[in-house]
C-alpha cells in the first residue's frame, strides 16, 4: 500500500502541539485568573491587582525598564546596523558576527560575568536600576541589530542615489528614505527586545541585587503560593504585550516577513 499524506494529515501533529502547548495552557491561565481558591468564578484577583499600589508600581517599573532598554538598544544598534549594511567592506560579516556571538554563549554565564564585572568596579548594589538596564541592553542588543541589519541591507543603493540626485542632503535622505524603509526592522527589533526585558527577571535579580522587581519575577513568585493571582498577572502582561506589539505595527503581514528572517 502506498502511503499518501495530504496537507491536512501532515498538519495534524502541529494542531496537536498547538492544542496541548498553547491553547489549553492559555485556557488554564484564563480559568485560574478568574477563579478563587474554591474554583468559583471571581474577579477578586483583577480588582486586587489594580487596587494594590505595589503591584501597579511594579508593572510601571517593568514598563519603564523595558522602554529604556529598548530605546538604548535601538540607539546603539541602528548606527551599527546602518554602517555595516552600507559598508562595502568584504569581511563585514565578521564584525556582525562579533556583535552576535554573545547570543551563543550561555545566558546565565553572561549575566554572571556582568555581575562579576559590576562588583569589580564597585557598582553592584549601588545602582540597581542602572545595572539591570545595562545587563539587559548587553543581552538583548543582538536581537535589535539583526533585524535592523537585514532590513537596511535590503534597501536598494539606488534609492539613496535617487534621493541625492533629486537634491536630498544626507539628513533628508535619512529621514525620508532610510528611516521609513527600515520601520519593519525597527518594529521587529522592538518586539524582540521589549518583551524579554519586561519578563527576564534573571537579569534584574542578579544585577539589580534582588532590589529590582519586574513583572516576570512577580509571576514567578505568585506561582509558588497563589496560582490564581499568578495567572491574573500573566494575563495582564499578555495584554500589555499584545497592545505594544499592535502599536508598533508588528502584526502586519509584510512586517513579519521582512523582520523575521534573521
Amino acid at each position: 500500500m502506498r502511503l499518501r499524506f495530504s496537507r491536512k494529515t501532515l498538519g495534524i501533529p502541529y494542531a496537536v502541539f498547538l492544542l496541548f502547548f498553547v491553547i489549553i495552557p492559555m485556557l488554564v491561565i484564563l480559568f485560574y485568573a478568574f477563579t478563587d481558591n474554591e474554583m468559583h468564578l471571581s474577579f477578586e484577583n483583577f480588582i486586587r491587582f489594580f487596587s494594590d499600589p505595589t503591584k501597579l508600581s511594579t508593572i510601571v517599573y517593568s514598563l519603564v525598564i523595558a522602554l529604556i532598554t529598548t530605546a538604548v538598544c535601538l540607539l546603539i544598534a541602528y548606527p551599527v546596523a546602518y554602517i555595516l549594511a552600507r559598508s562595502k567592506m568584504k569581511k563585514k560579516f565578521v564584525i556582525l558576527l562579533l556583535f552576535v556571538t554573545p547570543m551563543w554563549i550561555n545566558f546565565v554565564l553572561r549575566v554572571n560575568a556582568i555581575r562579576e564585572l559590576l562588583s569589580w568596579i564597585g557598582l553592584l548594589g549601588e545602582a540597581n536600576y542602572f545595572n539591570t538596564i545595562f545587563g539587559m541592553v548587553y543581552d538583548f542588543l543582538p536581537f535589535m541589530i539583526l533585524p535592523l541589519y537585514t532590513t537596511l541591507l535590503k534597501i536598494d543603493e539606488s534609492l539613496y542615489e535617487a534621493s541625492a540626485d533629486l537634491g536630498g542632503n544626507a539628513f533628508t535622505t535619512f529621514t525620508r528614505i532610510t528611516l521609513p524603509l527600515s520601520m519593519p526592522g525597527i518594529a521587529s527589533g522592538i518586539t524582540m527586545v521589549f518583551l524579554p526585558s519586561m519578563t527576564n527577571y534573571v537579569v534584574s535579580d542578579m544585577l539589580g541585587n534582588s532590589m529590582v522587581t519586574i513583572i516576570g519575577k512577580f509571576i514567578y513568585e505568585y506561582f509558588g503560593t497563589n496560582w490564581h493571582m499568578g495567572s491574573m498577572v500573566a494575563l495582564i502582561l499578555l495584554i500589555v504585550v499584545f497592545l505594544s506589539t499592535w502599536l508598533t505595527g508588528g502584526f502586519k503581514e509584510e512586517n513579519t516577513v521582512r523582520g523575521a528572517n534573521i
Binding site: 536598494d156 539606488s158 542615489e161 541625492a164 533629486l166 536630498g168 542632503n169 525620508r176 524603509l181
Partner: protein, 502 residues
C-alpha cells in the same frame, strides 16, 4: 558654435585597481540628445554616474557650463537621473515620488521690507506650487489621475513614466537616462523611444542617454559616443558612425559588417578577397589595413560583370531584405538585398569605391612585459611560457647547469631579468584544456574577417593582459580557454641594458 554644457577633460576612473574609464575627453552641446553606446562593461554607465555625481573621477575634470563640478555631490548638481531599474521610492505614492525633488528644493524669493529695502529669503516651494508642477509633469508622461497610486501597483511602463516625471519635474539642465528602456518589452520600448524623443524636443533640455542597443542609439540620438573598454572609440552623428566607422570595433558593433584584412597596393587601391579594388581612403602603400564593407553596399550582378565571383551558400529572409552569404574563394561575403538568390547560384559582386572603408588595424602584434624565471622560462600575462632565452644574446647557449653562456664565454644567471615579449597575431592557439597552455583567460571579443576570426582573450589573473590573434575555429564569447604559444614564436628582447650577472 554651440555651447558646451558638459565637458569631460582627460577623465580616468579606477574601481579599486580596475581601470574602467581611460582618459576620456568629450563634450556635450547644450540641448542635444547624446547617447553613450557600447557593450556592457565599456564604461558608459560609469561615465554617466560621474556626470550625476555618484562616482568621482580618479583624475581629470568634469565641467558644467565651464565650471569644474568633478567633486560636487549629486544633490548640488543641476542634473537629474532616470535610473536603470527606476529606483522609485516604494513607500511613497506616485505624487510623493514625483514631488520628492520639489520638496528638497529651496528657492530665493525677493521681498521688500517696511523701509522699502529689498531682501531675499531662501524658501521652500509652497504646497500649491508643488502640486501644480507635479500635475504638469504627470500630464507630460500621460499619468494624470495616478497621483494616489502606490508604486507597486504600476506596470513596468508606468513606473518608467513616473521615473521620468520625477526627474523632469525639477527642470534640470541635463537629464541623464541610464538604459531606461532596458526592462521593457520590445513594443513598449519602441513606443517609449518615440515619446522620449518627443519629450526632448518639447523640453529643450540636454539628454544624456546610455544604452547598449545600437538601434536605439541610431534612432534617437543627435550624437553618439561609442565606447569600449573604457575608451571612446568614436564620436559622431548616427550617420557618421554608421557610414564612416572609425575602427573595426565600431563597424562590428553598429550594424552588420563584412570585415577583411587588406593591403594597400597603390594610390587609392586596396587588395582584399584576392582582388584589387579602387577606394577613396588614402593610406601608405603596402600598409596592412582592415577593410569594412556594409552588407547592403555589396551589389549582386551577373558572374562575368562582378569584381568578385562566388557561390551562394545561404539565403535568409529578414523581412525587408534577404541576407545572402556568398563564398568567394576562401572568403565569405555577406550581402543584403531586396532581391533573392538561390543556394548554389554563381553570382558576381561589386562594391563602389566610396563604400569601401579602410581602417588602420588596431592590433598588429602582442607585446607584454615579462620576467625570466630560474628555469629559463618567461612569466607574463598571468602565466609562464617556455621560451628560447638564447635569443637575448646572439651566439649564446645554455650550459648543463642551466646558466646562459654568451658568445664571449660569460656565464649569466637570467633569473629575474625583465624582458619585452612579442607574439605575432598568427602565432597563438587556444584550447579548452586549461592545462594545455601557459595561461588562461576568457574570450572577450570575436570579429569575423571573411575567412577567419579575430579573437581577443583576456587573462584572468591580476595582469588582465589581452591576447589578440587570428583563428579559423569558431569559439563563443566568454569561453574560458588556455593560451598556447609555441616556444619558437615567443620573441624576447631585453628591457634594460644592465643585466644581473653571476
Amino acid at each position: 558654435m554651440a555651447e558646451h554644457i558638459i565637458e569631460l577633460q582627460d577623465v580616468t576612473k579606477y574601481y579599486d585597481d580596475n581601470l574602467v574609464i581611460d582618459h576620456v575627453n568629450l563634450y556635450v552641446n547644450k540641448g542635444e540628445f547624446i547617447t553613450f553606446l557600447g557593450p556592457s562593461g565599456c564604461g558608459k554607465t560609469t561615465t554617466l554616474r560621474m556626470i550625476a555625481g555618484f562616482d568621482l573621477p580618479t583624475s581629470g575634470k568634469i565641467l558644467l557650463n565651464g565650471k569644474d563640478i568633478s567633486l560636487l555631490p549629486p544633490n548640488k548638481r543641476p542634473v537629474n537621473t532616470v535610473f536603470q531599474r527606476y529606483a522609485l521610492f516604494p513607500h511613497l505614492n506616485v505624487f510623493e515620488n514625483v514631488a520628492f525633488g520639489l520638496k528638497c528644493k529651496r528657492v530665493m524669493n525677493t521681498y521688500r521690507n517696511d523701509e522699502g529695502k529689498e531682501y531675499t529669503k531662501k524658501e521652500r516651494l509652497s504646497k500649491k506650487e508643488i502640486a501644480g508642477k507635479v500635475q504638469r509633469a504627470l500630464e507630460l508622461v500621460d499619468l494624470e489621475g495616478f497621483e494616489k497610486r502606490s508604486i507597486s501597483t504600476l506596470s513596468g511602463g508606468q513606473q518608467q513614466r513616473v521615473a521620468i516625471a520625477r526627474a523632469i519635474v525639477n527642470e534640470p539642465e541635463i537629464l541623464l537616462l541610464d538604459e531606461p528602456l532596458g526592462a521593457l518589452d520590445l513594443k513598449m520600448r519602441k513606443e517609449m523611444q518615440i515619446e522620449l524623443k518627443e519629450m526632448h524636443k518639447r523640453l529643450g533640455i540636454t539628454f544624456i542617454y546610455v544604452t547598449h542597443d545600437q538601434e536605439e542609439a541610431l534612432t534617437m540620438s543627435d550624437t553618439i559616443v561609442v565606447m569600449a573598454d573604457g575608451i571612446v572609440q568614436q564620436i559622431g552623428t548616427p550617420t557618421d558612425v554608421y557610414n564612416e566607422p572609425a575602427n573595426t570595433f565600431v563597424a562590428d558593433f553598429i550594424g552588420e559588417s563584412n570585415i577583411f584584412n587588406g593591403t594597400v597596393v597603390g594610390d587609392r587601391k586596396v587588395r582584399f578577397c584576392g582582388k584589387i579594388f579602387d577606394c577613396v581612403d588614402d593610406f601608405e602603400r603596402n600598409e596592412p589595413v582592415d577593410v569594412v564593407v556594409r552588407p547592403e553596399d555589396v551589389i549582386m550582378c551577373a558572374p562575368e560583370q562582378g569584381a568578385l565571383k562566388g557561390t551562394v551558400i545561404s539565403v535568409v529572409f529578414k523581412g525587408i531584405h534577404y541576407e545572402i552569404t556568398v563564398q568567394v574563394g576562401k572568403y565569405e561575403v555577406v550581402v543584403q538585398s531586396t532581391e533573392s538568390r538561390k543556394e548554389g547560384d554563381v553570382i558576381g559582386l561589386n562594391i563602389e569605391p566610396d563604400e569601401i572603408h579602410l581602417m588602420k588595424p588596431k592590433y598588429t602584434t602582442n607585446i607584454f612585459d615579462g620576467v625570466i624565471t630560474k628555469h629559463n622560462t618567461v612569466e607574463f600575462a598571468d602565466g609562464e611560457f617556455e621560451c628560447d632565452v638564447t635569443q637575448l644574446y646572439p651566439g649564446s647557449h645554455i650550459d648543463d647547469e642551466e646558466y646562459l653562456v654568451t658568445a664571449s664565454g660569460e656565464k649569466l644567471d637570467l633569473t629575474g631579468t625583465e624582458v619585452r615579449v612579442e607574439v605575432g597575431l598568427t602565432d597563438i592557439e587556444i584550447s579548452d584544456d586549461q592545462n594545455a597552455g601557459g595561461t588562461v583567460g576568457n574570450i572577450i571579443s570575436i570579429i569575423y574577417k571573411g575567412d577567419h576570426y579575430r579573437l581577443i582573450v583576456r587573462t584572468n589573473g591580476e595582469d588582465e593582459e589581452d591576447f589578440v590573434f587570428a583563428t579559423d575555429d569558431l569559439w563563443n564569447e566568454n569561453d574560458l580557454v588556455s593560451v598556447i604559444i609555441p616556444k619558437d614564436k615567443i620573441k624576447l628582447s631585453l628591457k634594460h641594458a644592465e643585466d644581473k650577472k653571476k
